[in-house]
């Protein structure tokens, strides 16, 4: 079967912009992640270029593009904008039909999404205003630990103690980290404690629901310690998609495949079907 027409999903997140390109039959033919920087439109273009690179295909083959994420309305050429909540649910479920909960730990926000057996959204939560429990939180506390962000995961994985950081807010956690360093606690234990505190925030957002959980987002994609902490608190390892960071973009691309071209002339029925300028 020919790859074209192509269907594109772009997840313009606050830290990273992700792109997934699907062939007409729904197989992933390309994907890419770039830093969002300050211009979502440019980042989206760059992510698409990256995703198409090496496929021998080009933008002219794109039949439909759906954008999602914080900067979804800035993505040029997107026929529809759909929230990251619906897209993550869609992407994760396509990888794991049995999934009920999706835990997405991103740069600026953390989401927990629950769907039923039909894939219908049942409940969803986003972290409230504070950064605690997000990638940004990890970044700011890494500075306190004096460890580069890229090294914090490997360090945490060497910990054998059951250390948990207790503060709710980013600033207080920073202070707690300094106190613990001063009291001689090994940095690897503090690092693992940090991931556990994120997992605890996520767990609180889950509202005592049951069912298989998939973990997505940049923090999950890059940190095994995050998965370890999630496994500890949920009592089972979370399902880990092949490209956890691209779950939202994948969901958006799947939705792009369903867009009825005739619908595009219709003025919006909703956010889900909002036609961008």
């Amino acid at each position: 079967m020919s790859a074209v027409p192509l269907y594109v999903g772009i997840d313009a997140g606050s830290s990273a912009t992700k792109c997934v390109v699907l062939a007409a039959d729904g197989t992933i033919v390309g994907h890419g992640v770039v830093s969002s920087g300050f211009d979502y439109a440019e980042a989206a273009d760059a992510a698409l270029t990256l995703a198409l690179g090496g496929t021998g295909l080009d933008r002219g083959d794109v039949a439909c593009c759906v954008s999602t994420g914080y900067g979804r309305k800035n993505v040029r050429g997107a026929q529809r904008h759909v929230t990251e909540i619906s897209c993550h649910a869609r992407g994760a479920r396509a990888w794991y039909p049995e999934v009920r909960g999706i835990v997405d730990i991103g740069g600026q926000d953390t989401k927990v999404i629950w769907i039923d057996a039909r894939g219908e959204l049942v409940d969803y939560r986003m972290n409230s205003k504070c950064a605690a429990g997000t990638g940004t939180f990890l970044e700011s506390v890494a500075v306190r630990l004096g460890v580069p962000l890229s090294a914090i995961d490997a360090l945490a994985m060497t910990s054998t103690a059951h250390s948990v950081l207790n503060s709710y807010c980013t600033v207080f956690t920073g202070t707690e980290v300094i106190e613990r360093i001063k009291s001689g606690e090994p940095r690897q234990d503090i690092s693992m404690g940090l991931f556990r505190s994120i997992a605890a925030r996520v767990f609180e957002m889950c509202a005592a629901r049951d069912g298989p959980i998939a973990a997505t987002g940049g923090v999950v994609a890059h940190c095994r310690a995050m998965l370890r902490a999630l496994e500890e608190i949920f009592g089972a390892p979370p399902l880990l998609p092949p490209w956890p960071q691209q779950a939202g973009a994948y969901g958006a691309a799947l939705l792009a495949r369903e867009v009825d071209p005739h619908d595009l002339d219709e003025r919006p029925r909703s956010a889900q079907s909002e036609v961008s300028a």
Binding site: T27, L121, R125, K129, A207, S270, Q272, E274
Partner: protein, 425 residues
């Protein structure tokens, strides 16, 4: 791209503007007139007694809301906090105290008056929260004016005759204290007249809100927030009754003409909790864009009291003051919400978790979960605040609202067309 759909404005709004102007100018005149007295009262407090005594009545919560709507609260709250009030206490209170400390008031620009009228008396009821007591005490000290109040039993399930008797006794004691302080007897016949007018305005207001049972709803929560002003500020006055007669007639006509508050109404939802005053426009525009009519709310219904059909006016006041939603227990509140969902044929509920008003926030003790799980309802909870915009994330809330509509769309589809399973690549 936003798709502005033209809305038909509510004509009575013009009349409301002049009514509000008259009200504030009269309050200002009363404060400057040695022969008149001003009383401050809580929004669901015993204002009929004050009106019957002849006080011009002023409601500080309205000022708190105005400060929020004008996006001044977050600049003023720090002054209250530095005066010893916790930053997470009621942001109406904190912004009002901060405004007084800074000499700021939206009434200056709106009506050309210096600000809130100086009180001769401050009266509260803790049927809504205990915060009002301390808020009133701040201004009592500042203006050297007496602060009197009633503390009815709270969080009630069934309302018993003993409850009503107790509150009636409190109201009677309040009257006696006012009489003693000002050396003036309350005219009981006048009280009955005021109560009758208060009840009439409240009944008309409820009928206005009930017109939103029609599809499309002729009035939404966002309109209600503007048009509810007389039922609070002018309770007991003939002007309030006349205003709601006009508004009701207009709403009934809109129902006949099928004019909706949201022209292309697709979904009908409930708003539970306080408004987000600094972001009303953003939220109402988003609802308009999404085709969502907020057809019913707890907040607008807070002033829809029971009818008064003669008899002891104090008993009516006692009952009204404890029967309000905010003063009820969790099961009663939940039953009320379920009934509203049924009566207004709603697709879902939005709960506002207002950071500084736990009293008027009902998503903190598992209710959203129970409504979802036990009753299969679509429920969204948004974090924010009534006046302090620092507790509100516009981007996150808008995403939440859009996702809620996506959820409602999927729920509306027939089961067979629910999300099909995908083949992973």
């Amino acid at each position: 791209m936003s798709h502005a759909v033209p809305r038909v404005e509510i004509r009575a709004a013009q009349q409301l503007k002049s009514l509000m102007r008259d009200y504030f100018l009269d309050l200002d005149a009363a404060a400057c007139d040695a022969d008149r007295r001003v009383a401050w009262c809580t929004s669901v407090g015993p204002c009929e007694i004050l009106v019957a005594f002849g006080f011009a009545t002023y409601f500080p919560e309205n000022h708190g809301a105005l400060l929020g709507a004008k996006r001044l609260s977050h600049q003023l709250i720090p002054y209250a906090v530095s005066a010893g009030y916790c930053a997470e206490s009621c942001s109406y209170m904190n912004s009002d105290i901060g405004a007084a400390l800074r000499g700021v008031s939206p009434l200056q620009d709106a009506y050309g008056i210096a600000g809130p009228p100086r009180p001769d008396l401050l009266v509260y009821s803790t049927n809504q929260c205990r915060e009002v007591q301390d808020w009133w005490n701040f201004f009592g000290r500042r203006h050297d004016a007496p602060v009197l109040g009633i503390c009815p039993p709270t969080h009630l399930g069934e309302i018993t005759p003993a409850h009503v008797r107790f509150v009636r006794g409190e109201l009677q004691a309040l009257i006696e204290r006012i009489e003693a302080h000002f050396g003036e007897k309350l005219d009981r016949d006048r009280l009955a007249e005021v109560v009758a007018r208060s009840s009439a305005a409240s009944t008309l207001w409820r009928r206005v809100l009930d017109t939103a049972r029609a599809r499309p709803a002729p009035i939404s929560f966002w309109d209600g927030l503007i048009h509810m002003a007389p039922v609070i500020l002018m309770r007991g006055s003939p002007a309030a009754v006349a205003y709601y007669e006009t508004l009701l007639a207009e709403m009934q006509q809109r129902v006949r003409d099928r004019v909706g508050a949201v022209p292309h109404e697709r979904f009908r939802v409930y708003w539970e909790g306080m408004p987000v005053w600094p972001r009303l426009r953003d939220l109402s525009d988003k609802c308009l864009e999404l085709g969502v009519a907020v057809a019913a709310s707890t907040y607008c219904n807070s002033w829809a009291f029971e009818d008064y059909s003669g008899g002891d006016p104090l008993e009516w006041m006692a009952r009204a003051s404890i029967a309000i939603f905010i003063n009820r227990d969790e099961p009663t509140k939940q039953a009320f919400l379920l009934e509203m969902v049924r009566r207004f044929d709603l697709d879902g509920l939005i709960f506002h978790n207002a950071r500084t008003c736990p009293n008027n926030t009902n998503s903190r003790f598992g209710m959203t979960q129970r409504l979802r799980e036990d009753h299969g309802l679509a429920v969204l909870s948004v974090d924010g605040d009534l006046s302090d915009q620092r507790f509100f994330s516009t981007a996150q809330t808008m995403t939440n609202l859009e996702a809620f509509v996506e959820q409602l769309e999927v729920r509306r589809r027939p089961a067979s067309s629910a999300v099909s399973q995908e083949v992973a690549g």
